[in-house]
C-alpha cells in the first residue's frame, strides 16, 4: 500500500470517515475532526508508520499534508536510526 492508502485506511478505521469523501485535497476541517480526534489520529499515525511526530500542534490542513508529513518523518527518522 502507498502512504496515501495507508493513511486513508487510518481515517476510515480510527475516525469512522467515509472513504468516498477522502481525496488528497480534502481538508481535515471538512471531516468535522475536533482536537481530540486529531490527537488520536496523530497517535495512530505514529503507530502505523513507527514514527514520532515531534509537535502535537503540527499544521496539517489536507490529507496530502498528512502524507507529506509522514513521508518526511519516515525519511528523517529512518535515516537517523
Amino acid at each position: 500500500m502507498t502512504t496515501l492508502e495507508r493513511i486513508e485506511k487510518l481515517f476510515v478505521d480510527k475516525l469512522e470517515l467515509n472513504r468516498d469523501l477522502l481525496t488528497p485535497q480534502s481538508t481535515l476541517e471538512s471531516f468535522g475532526i475536533d482536537s481530540l480526534d486529531k490527537i488520536e489520529f496523530l497517535f495512530a499515525l505514529e503507530d502505523e508508520f513507527k514514527i514520532k511526530i515531534p509537535e502535537r500542534d503540527v499544521k496539517i490542513d489536507t490529507v496530502q499534508d498528512v502524507v507529506d508529513m509522514v513521508d518526511r518523518l519516515v525519511a528523517e527518522q529512518s535515516a537517523a536510526g
Binding site: L15, L36, D37, F43
Partner: protein
C-alpha cells in the same frame, strides 16, 4: 415545594432499545440473557451475560473516537429521552438544566482494553484519549456538552443503586428549586473479560442453566444462584411540573418520593432495616401510605441473601398487604445492569403505570418458602389499576435507594 414529573424516556438494554420495545419484550417474558459473544468467554467459568445491540449512529450523529461504551450507550439513551420529551431550551433554560448519571464501574471497557495492550500485547504506550474514555463522569459530561446543559453535571457511584440515586438526587434538586430540568439515569458496560472475571470470583453471578442459558437468573426461586451481569443505559427527562405545563409537555407520571439510606453494616451483605427505612422514607416523601402502592419493581437480584432480605423488608413496610402487591424482578430477563439497573427499572416502573400492566418475574418455578410474596411468576399481567409504583435498588456498600412514581 415543587412537583417533579417525568416527560421523556430512553433505554438501551438487553431486553430492547427504546421504552416500547423493552416493555413489550418484558411482558412477553423474553430474556436478554445469552452466551457471551466475545472470544474471552472461553476463559470464564460462567459464560453468560445480558448484552445490548445498538449503533450510536442510529441515535446521534457523532464519532465514537473518544467515547467509551458507557458514554455511547448513555448518549443513545439520552437522545431517545430528549426527543421523547420534545423539550427545547433557550439559553436561560439551559443554565437551569442539569445532568445526573449513575455508573458502577465507569469506563471499565476502555480500562480493560488498555490493560490488555500494556500487559498482554506489551505495548509501550496507550491512546492519549484513554483517560477521557475511562473517567466515570465522561457519560454525564458528553450529555451536558451534547445538549448544552449548564446546570449541575454530576455522577453518582453507589454500585447497584447508582442510577436510582442519580434519579433521586435529580428529583430533589428540581423539587427544591436548584434546577428546572434534569437529564437523569445511568449507564454500565461491564461485559468484558476483567469485569466478568472479578464478578465471577465474588460468587454472586448465576450459574448457567444447563438446559436453557436464557433462564439462568431465577429471582425468588428456591434454585436461584445469583444474577446475570448485563450492560446498558437508561435516561429520563425530569421537569418541574410548572415548567412542563408551560410548554405543554406530555407527562408520563409524577416522581413523588425518594428514600436514601445506608445499612452501615457490611460491604456486601444487606439488612432488612436499611431497606425498610429506605422504603418508608420514600413513602413518606410521596405522601402516600402502604395501601397505595400497586406494584413493586424489586431489586430482586436472585442472590441467596437479597431475595430473602428484600422479601422480609417489604413485609415489614407493608404488613399483610405485602401479600396482595405484585412484586416482580425484571432482572430475570434484562440481567443486572449494576449502575444502570435502577434507571432501567425506573423506566419499567413508569411504563407499568402508563400501560396498566406488570411484567413478570420469569424462571420462577420452584418457590422458596422464605420468599412467599406475589412475584408475578412467569406471566405478565395487564388491565391492572396501577397508580403508584415503588422501585427498589439496594447496593453493595449498603446504599439503598427507593423511588416512587405515581399516575399524573
Amino acid at each position: 415545594m415543587r412537583r417533579v414529573v417525568v416527560t421523556g424516556l430512553g433505554v438501551i438494554s438487553p431486553s430492547g432499545n427504546g421504552p416500547a420495545e423493552l416493555f413489550d419484550n418484558l411482558m412477553a417474558g423474553k430474556s436478554g440473557v445469552c452466551r457471551i459473544s466475545g472470544s474471552y468467554a472461553e476463559k470464564l467459568s460462567i459464560k453468560i451475560a445480558a448484552e445490548v445491540h445498538f449503533k450510536l449512529s442510529d441515535y446521534v450523529s457523532r464519532k465514537t473516537t473518544a467515547l467509551d461504551r458507557t458514554s455511547q450507550m448513555a448518549l443513545a439513551a439520552a437522545a431517545q429521552a430528549w426527543a421523547d420529551s420534545g423539550i427545547a431550551l433557550d439559553d436561560a433554560g439551559k443554565v437551569r438544566a442539569g445532568v445526573y448519571l449513575g455508573t458502577g464501574m465507569g469506563g471499565a471497557q476502555s480500562l480493560d482494553e488498555v490493560t490488555t495492550q500494556l500487559y498482554k500485547e506489551d505495548k509501550s504506550r496507550v491512546s492519549p484519549l484513554s483517560i477521557v474514555k475511562i473517567m466515570s463522569n465522561a457519560p454525564a459530561a458528553h450529555i451536558s456538552i451534547g445538549y448544552g446543559l449548564m446546570g449541575p453535571c454530576l455522577t453518582y457511584t453507589t454500585a447497584c443503586s447508582s442510577s436510582s440515586v442519580a434519579i433521586g438526587e435529580a428529583f430533589r434538586q428540581i423539587k427544591y428549586g436548584l434546577c428546572d430540568v434534569a437529564v437523569a439515569g445511568g449507564t454500565e458496560s461491564i461485559v468484558n473479560y476483567v469485569s466478568m472475571k472479578c464478578w465471577e470470583s465474588l460468587g454472586v453471578v448465576a450459574l448457567e442453566d444447563p438446559v436453557d442459558a436464557s433462564t439462568s437468573c431465577k429471582p425468588f426461586s428456591k434454585n436461584r444462584t445469583g444474577f446475570v451481569l448485563g450492560e446498558g443505559a437508561a435516561v429520563v427527562v425530569l421537569e418541574d411540573l410548572e415548567t412542563a405545563r408551560k410548554r405543554g409537555a406530555k407527562i408520563y407520571c409524577e416522581l413523588s418520593g425518594y428514600g436514601s439510606t445506608a445499612d452501615a453494616y457490611h460491604i456486601t451483605g444487606p439488612t432488612i432495616d436499611g431497606q425498610e427505612r429506605a422504603m418508608k422514607l420514600a413513602l413518606d416523601e410521596a405522601g402516600i401510605n402502604a395501601d397505595s402502592v400497586d406494584y413493586i419493581n424489586a431489586h430482586g437480584t436472585a442472590t441467596a441473601a437479597n431475595d430473602v432480605v428484600e422479601t422480609k423488608a417489604i413485609k415489614k413496610v407493608f404488613g399483610d398487604r405485602a401479600y396482595r402487591i405484585p412484586v416482580s424482578s425484571t432482572k430475570s430477563m434484562h440481567g443486572h445492569l449494576i449502575g444502570a439497573a435502577g434507571a432501567v427499572e425506573f423506566v419499567i416502573s413508569v411504563l407499568a403505570i402508563r400501560n396498566k400492566a406488570v411484567p413478570p418475574t420469569t424462571n420462577l418455578s420452584i418457590p422458596d418458602p422464605e420468599c412467599d410474596l406475589d412475584y408475578v411468576p412467569n406471566a405478565g399481567r395487564t388491565g391492572l389499576d396501577i397508580r403508584s409504583v415503588m422501585s427498589n435498588s439496594f447496593a453493595f456498600g449498603g446504599t439503598n435507594a427507593v423511588l416512587i412514581v405515581r399516575e399524573f
